[in-house]
Symmetry: C2
Subunit: 657 residues, 2 copies
């Protein structure tokens, strides 16, 4: 009751305002002084130019090149391709000291990981080290992230390992290695092509939720795979799904496990997990976790060398080839039956690697507040993998764990990657023979400790809290990976992401609006129960561009609102509906199907003796309404700047405004 | 200048209002008396129920079943599946008279078309007649459209013909017929499944624009194919692309054309086109065009019979099997190598047939203002084709041309289809032998005259005027069909439609808002050049739900607006930007990626010392902002009901409100 009174007060106040003393005041306070604007008509060329620009060049990459001399343009171009020329001139000793320390830290972390990850990809251990030498060097020259640590990563290694051995069962064969290099080459081509063609936005189609699930699934799959090394099992399944793996583990429990291996593996795993826990509790002690893997390798290698545990069934690395990366251009399949398989695997691995690198790059760029050009980054990563494939590297990308350590160790520029690469080079040249007695169990525990960090339970909880559909996508990818395979998980992740997009475009939301008492604001009556409807009017907001994919739904949904409201209002004081106002503020675009739908809506309403009124159509919509002559059908005088204006025009005096 | 003055007047008036005499008035007129509403929290079940309902049951199909007795529910269920029980009780003699006349009219049109279209599908002529007998009968009982005329149609026949003969070259073989029936069966299954699973909205993904292009392309392809019959060419290519066909035509110009055939064909074609022109000019004379094909058949058959022109190289129909449809359940491939081909062709043909039928149904339903349940319609069409495949019919659907004639002849219900079916039955039983001497050239001219109606130049012009992208989709499908094949054209149509959807979701629009002088309305400054920006503030409207596919773009686009505006405002009176208001009215939903993007936006703005302010987030967005604690980060006091409120709060007194 009091609400109604206060409403009347406002109505009075507004009336006072409108019938004010001076005539100028009178005119200006009428709410409908402005007509709905039509923007200046664009030519076809302008229109195409605009949409191409927003789609592919939304970051305006050539802005700096404008109005420059040719010489300057050349320098800018060089700096654009090789950002190192940009920051190298301002580089100083202080920055180098930070980069040197962080470079050493990530090197000590990456060397054991490289050896372990290469095994995930079914490659010999030195290929992991090769990848950590060439790739970071290339990236340091071309990449624009300052914090990313480049090298082989667990998930991509696993993905490569499974996909490659689907093609070639015998992964000791030379063919297998060649296919891996071919896939790496095409991964690079894919990444570079996406960058050059400015199609970087395609990776946005893999939703965050799907990635969280995929990563967690991959982490568990990888950890389970390590049970082989950790328990010293000899006959292990080649499948990656949880059921096959657990079956392998249980069936070998009586005569396949090796207790010496288990002791070494479990004790170092516990050690690693403790260091990780310490680093998490006390951020300053991050280096404890960073150097722990190297410590494990050294200690365990010494232990095995002294006790000769390898004679008692503890499996060891045995042999890592000494020396720098051999050239491998001639190894790539540019023809023959493996070409298409290599290209296919390369495209998938390249996309996944890209997703990871871009996510890492963006995260750290946001933390240090510098900007990262996604497309340029893709060109850098692509070039890196192409050069890598010619120098015996397999697919490299940014590593979550090592990038975090790099950041915490205080890296300033990509120089830390160069330092790391040089340490790896030294390792390759001098100390690889020392890894001979490193037990595989320790490598397994290093992998397990590393991949556990990929399981982000907090993120999953947040997904559940914020968006149930996202949670579903996450779980789909997760279970797909652990019960089937990484590829199936990836496929599910992409499929669910697309389903969500399609759902979004076919079933846009609509809302009935009411007036908030005491204001001239119209809002969703479900969100604001106080909002009141206008007698004789139904106001509906359409919350999406009207395209072929939803035009029919929108038309029928509006008619259904009308039917429902008419039923509801029967006998109430709101009386019969004479005007249906479609609030079009959110309708940013309309296509021919949308125009047809509006036309059909108009006709259906006409038959029901309800008048169609449009409020606030945007510039593009106005242009198309004019082009299709729909404005003439509906009537120019029924298109308003705002709902308030429409209500003011059609509601007869005396009723509550 | 005057604008500024009038603005001040309004500001004064508003100030007066606010500092009004009575205190109650004071409170009520403050614009920010309402807080942003959060809707009552829904349980997970409610949430899922709601979205499933909107996606699959948006038409609320079970509404009528609510609160009814079981007996009544059974009757309603029966009526739902067989709408004939619904309208048959009210059926009267007057309606029957109309239906009888329109039924006869479409029968006279369909008989020659059936014979001709069956040839397009490479089937014997009687199969066209079979299809026009069983299918309309089934539809009459189950369909809910009153105007559609059911039977074989040109485009689906052509599509079937090409796809089937890709599988089985020899279309005289019994295998070919069996594959056609298999495809029909699966077309029916597809249609029925889409209806039962309520996935009818999937056909909305084929955009109107793409269909216009596809239809026009198919029409031209079909017309070109008829040159074989029209010119009496014996060695004709089996390909359908324009280049192969024209090549066939020119290479046979000297010794392949038959002048008697050409005379018959061209003269009847001219006759048909003239009748069509008359019908178009004078709507009342539509029957002239409707009975013209039958007249042509009768006249030409008589002519050939009398002159024995078939001995002079005029090719004739020769033989149509007499009698009613034979059973064909045992002919369908339920196993073997053709099963998968049949299923694949069936799915494609079923979808295309569905698109055509639904488009026709909707058009006429809108014209007579009755509603059509898309999903129910699909079940009817599916059942019709399944039963059809068991009784020697091939894929039937609604025909554009015959439905239009049916409508103009004044049909009232599906009884006109029954009348037509009975006439076809009579034809099959009695007069098929009379078609022996019908020249193929006349059938060719009947097809050409019929398919020309599928080329809708007006629609193409409208596409060009309204939406260039739609025009592109149309042309893509068109050229795909005429230069490659119907399948390729269809593929292009679907691909372009999808590309448009993806573009829509990855690159949503954003707009800078300004205040319209003399109002409290904020609008796009590009559409309303008079709108003025607020000093110290930048107001940006995001015109789309924020999802993973666009969250990153939206964040970066907002930051780019800020940078651009800061550059532009340097030195102007609008001063440095302190507040960035994101108008979120059109943002109907947000997912976890969107929340992350907002968080990152907040951080970036924080570093630039700009405050993030949100205006009018919708119910779902508010809920998720709360769930993710983003409201705490941004601050509850920086989330406003409207832009007006935000401006009023942050702009210091004295500056122009």
């Amino acid at each position: 009751m009091s609400q109604r009174v206060s409403d009347e007060v406002v109505a009075m106040a507004m009336g006072e305002l409108r019938s004010g003393h001076s005539s100028s005041r009178h005119v200006e306070t009428l709410p409908y002084v402005h007509k709905v604007g039509s923007p200046p008509k664009q030519t076809l060329f302008q229109e195409i130019k605009h949409s191409v620009k927003e789609t592919f060049f939304s970051d305006n990459p050539l802005k700096e090149f404008k109005d420059q001399t040719i010489r300057r343009k050349f320098v800018l171009g060089l700096q654009a391709v090789f950002p190192i020329f940009n920051w190298a001139r301002g580089y100083n000793l202080k920055a180098f000291r930070s980069d040197f320390i962080s470079g050493l830290t990530i090197a000590s972390l990456c060397i054991p990981q490289d050896i372990a990850y290469a095994k995930l990809a079914n490659l010999e251990p030195q290929y992991g080290l090769y990848t950590s030498f060439v790739a970071p060097l290339v990236y340091a020259f071309m990449g624009s992230s300052r914090d990313i640590a480049i090298g082989p990563v667990a998930v991509v290694s696993l993905l490569l390992g499974t996909m490659l051995s689907d093609e070639i069962k015998d992964y000791h064969s030379h063919e297998y290695l060649r296919l891996a290099l071919t896939a790496t080459f095409f991964a690079g081509i894919t990444q570079m092509a996406l960058g050059v063609l400015r199609l970087g936005f395609l990776i946005d189609f893999l939703s965050h939720a799907a990635i969280v699930g995929f990563m967690a699934g991959a982490a568990i799959t990888i950890a389970l795979q390590q049970l082989k090394g950790l328990l010293g099992i000899k006959n292990f399944t080649k499948k990656t799904d949880i059921i096959s793996v657990m079956d392998s583990v249980w069936s070998s429990v009586h005569h396949g496990w090796n207790w010496q291996t288990i002791v070494i593996g479990i004790s170092f795993l516990v050690f690693l997990l403790i260091t990780k826990y310490i680093a998490k509790r006390e951020k300053k002690l991050f280096w404890v976790a960073a150097i722990a893997p190297m410590t494990c390798v050294i200690l365990s290698t010494l232990f095995v060398y002294i006790t000769r545990a390898d004679k008692k069934g503890v499996s060891i690395v045995k042999h890592i080839k000494k020396g720098v990366n051999p050239a491998s251009a001639s190894e790539i399949f540019f023809s023959g039956k493996y070409l298409s398989a290599g290209a296919r695997i390369g495209v998938v691995a390249g996309m996944v690697a890209l997703t990871e690198a871009v996510a890492i790059g963006r995260t750290f760029a946001a933390m240090k507040d510098y900007s990262l050009d996604g497309n340029k980054e893709m060109v850098a990563l692509g070039t890196m993998n192409i050069i890598g494939s010619l120098t015996s590297c397999y697919v490299a990308t940014g590593s979550f764990s090592r990038s975090a350590v790099n950041y915490m160790a205080g890296c300033k520029t990509a120089v830390s990657n160069i330092v790391m690469a040089l340490v790896v080079l030294l390792t390759l040249l001098v100390i690889t023979p020392l890894f001979k007695y490193t037990p595989n169990a320790v490598l397994a525990s290093i992998i397990i400790a590393a991949v556990l960090g990929l399981i982000d339970i907090q993120a999953v909880i947040l997904l559940w809290k914020i968006d149930k559909f996202d949670f579903l996508a996450c779980m789909g990818a997760f279970f797909g990976v652990i019960f089937k395979s990484v590829e199936i998980g990836l496929l599910i992740a992409v499929a669910i992401s697309f389903a969500k997009i399609l759902l979004q475009v076919t079933r846009p939301r609509t809302a009935v609006l009411g007036k908030l008492p005491g204001t001239s604001v119209y809002r969703n009556i479900q969100q604001y129960p106080k909002a009141t409807q206008i007698p004789g009017m139904l106001i509906i907001r359409v919350d999406s561009a009207i395209y072929f994919s939803n035009s029919n739904y929108i038309k029928e949904r509006i008619l259904r609102w009308l039917t429902d409201e008419e039923t509801q209002r029967t006998g109430s004081e709101l009386a019969a509906i004479q005007y249906l106002v479609v609030e079009m503020s959110p309708v940013t675009d309309i296509d021919t199907s949308g125009i047809h739908a509006l036309e059909e809506l108009y006709k259906s309403l006409h038959k029901r003796e309800v008048q169609l009124v449009l409020a606030n159509p945007g510039p593009i919509v106005m242009e198309k309404l004019h082009a299709s002559n729909l404005t003439d059908l509906v009537g120019e005088h029924k298109i308003f700047l705002s709902v308030t204006d429409a209500v003011a025009t059609f509601v007869t005096k005396g009723s509550e405004l």
